[in-house]
């Protein structure tokens, strides 16, 4: 089996598995542990507050947007493209169609997927510059904050380079860009459950916990 087949086959299934099982486990662990140790949260739990906080923070309709509209617009765009582009881009759908699962669904127009990829990259560069140029963020940041930003951006960079063959052929990088893309994508998937990127699910629990506490006290949620 050559490396590409390995990356496209078993490694992909393993990384998707780690990602999915990992995130579900994080969610389950949160629920189990909070039942035991955060009783106050469950005693006062009301869907009303939880739904209200999601309605404000899943879309840009919150206080932080008013405070820092530029950052928030870019952060929401970043996440939107980050989630939508990989799921609905044509090459990924073709992969599913030809796989054993034979899944098929409508793809984003190629041009749009391209722009979304570029948007993720441009915003990642903005986030990196922002982190490096602000004394506050430099003070707060640890190595992992930089590394994870790079790990998040790499699959998008390599996707673009691979689709457009930007590095040409006949050189090591250019010839293997698809492989590099697959490997970096898998790297991103496997780190999510074990790092701050686990916020992909913990976001919902953290927001819910605070909404329950603040809702009860009639604070802004």
């Amino acid at each position: 089996m050559d490396v590409l087949a390995l990356a496209e086959g078993p490694l992909l299934w393993i990384s998707l598995g780690v990602f999915a099982v990992g995130l579900v486990t994080r969610a389950a662990l949160f629920l189990v542990e909070s039942r035991e140790k955060d009783k106050i949260f469950w005693q006062h739990f009301k869907w009303k507050w939880v739904l209200a906080t999601m309605a404000k923070w899943l879309v840009p309709a919150n206080r932080t947007v008013a405070k820092d509209p530029v950052f928030c617009a870019l952060a929401y765009a970043f996440h939107f493209c980050l989630i939508v582009a990989p799921i609905w881009c044509l090459p990924h759908i073709i992969y599913w169609e030809t796989s054993r699962l034979a899944w098929s669904f409508t793809a984003l127009p190629d041009g749009l997927a391209d722009w979304m990829t570029l948007a993720v990259l441009a915003i990642a560069v903005y986030l990196l510059i922002r982190r490096l140029s602000s004394p506050d963020l430099r003070y707060l940041s640890t190595a992992s904050d930089y590394v994870l930003l790079v790990i998040t951006a790499l699959p998008f960079l390599t996707a673009y380079l691979s689709v457009h063959q930007s590095l040409g052929t006949g050189n090591l990088l250019g010839d293997n860009m698809q492989l590099i893309h697959i490997l970096t994508g898998e790297l991103m998937l496997v780190v999510v459950p074990f790092t701050k990127l686990s916020h992909a699910v913990l976001f919902f629990f953290s927001r819910a916990a605070t909404a329950v506490e603040f809702g009860r006290r009639e604070y802004s949620i």
């Binding site: 909070s34 506050d136 963020l137 430099r138 707060l140 916020h199 629990f205 953290s206």
Partner: protein, 249 residues
């Protein structure tokens, strides 16, 4: 290396208290910095990065990471931060995209330090007073009643018929004060008595524990004492059949 007695005690204290919320908060904070300029300490310190709310929980996360193995110098630094750089107002949380509750974690760190005998001296003596007399100033029941009596007597020349009703069963409002008033600002009690009198309110003041409405033990995370204090006030209100408890400004 064997864990020290202190680190064992620290971890024992933290174990039941560091739940899913705190763990997630410490992990998912993405260091986006949105909380920085929402904190009055940060703004008042000319945007000193160490005053960023997200930076202030590093003591808690360090203690957890080091499994409680921290020295006196570290504890002192943590103390300076959690008592002098955050008043647990919760404003930063209202701007954090994840709703990370910094104040909760500062409160937990204060409680942890208190469990290790570290807290501001003034609060320590207030807590001692709460235990001995039920009020933060250590005013005895005799002195309390005495204060109410002379407050009333002094006002009689000003407003005829003015009374400070003590332990009046069936009054609508049970009025409570900050014990500092009994000791240093009795005129505040008199002002309220005048208002109640002129407004024709049905009110009373309890003689027993529960008349001090301050809860300073809360600030060190001594929740046991905090609870007792609130229970005292509710017990008095129930005994007297009061419908409302009013607290001093």
């Amino acid at each position: 290396m064997e864990p020290s007695t202190r680190s064992k005690a620290i971890m024992e204290f933290l174990k039941p208290r560091v739940g899913a919320r705190v763990k997630s908060w410490l992990e998912i904070c993405t260091k986006c910095g949105q909380c920085a300029d929402t904190c009055h300490f940060y703004l008042a310190a000319d945007r000193d990065p160490k005053m960023i709310p997200a930076a202030k929980v590093k003591y808690l996360s360090e203690i957890i990471r080091r499994k409680g193995e921290v020295d006196d110098e570290f504890i002192q630094k943590a103390y300076d931060c959690i008592y002098h750089e955050c008043n647990m107002c919760r404003r930063c949380t209202q701007f954090c995209p994840f709703g990370i509750n910094i104040a909760d974690m500062i409160a937990l760190t204060r409680a942890l330090l208190f469990s290790q005998g570290v807290c501001p001296e003034a609060l320590r003596s207030a807590i001692k007073n709460y235990h001995e007399t039920g009020n933060q100033m250590g005013v005895s029941e005799e002195d309390w009643l005495d204060t109410l009596t002379w407050c009333e007597e002094e006002m009689e020349s000003e407003i005829v018929g003015l009374k400070i009703p003590v332990d009046k069963v069936g009054a609508e409002i049970m009025y409570t004060i900050n014990a500092r008033e009994a000791k240093f600002y009795p005129q505040d009690i008199q002002e309220v008595a005048k208002i109640m009198h002129v407004a024709g309110a049905s009110w009373t003041v309890p003689s027993k524990r529960g008349w001090d409405d301050t809860n300073l033990s809360m600030f060190v995370g001594d929740l046991k004492t905090s609870r007792t204090l609130v229970e005292n006030t509710f017990a008095r209100a129930t005994e007297l059949g009061a419908k409302k408890v009013a607290i001093t400004e």
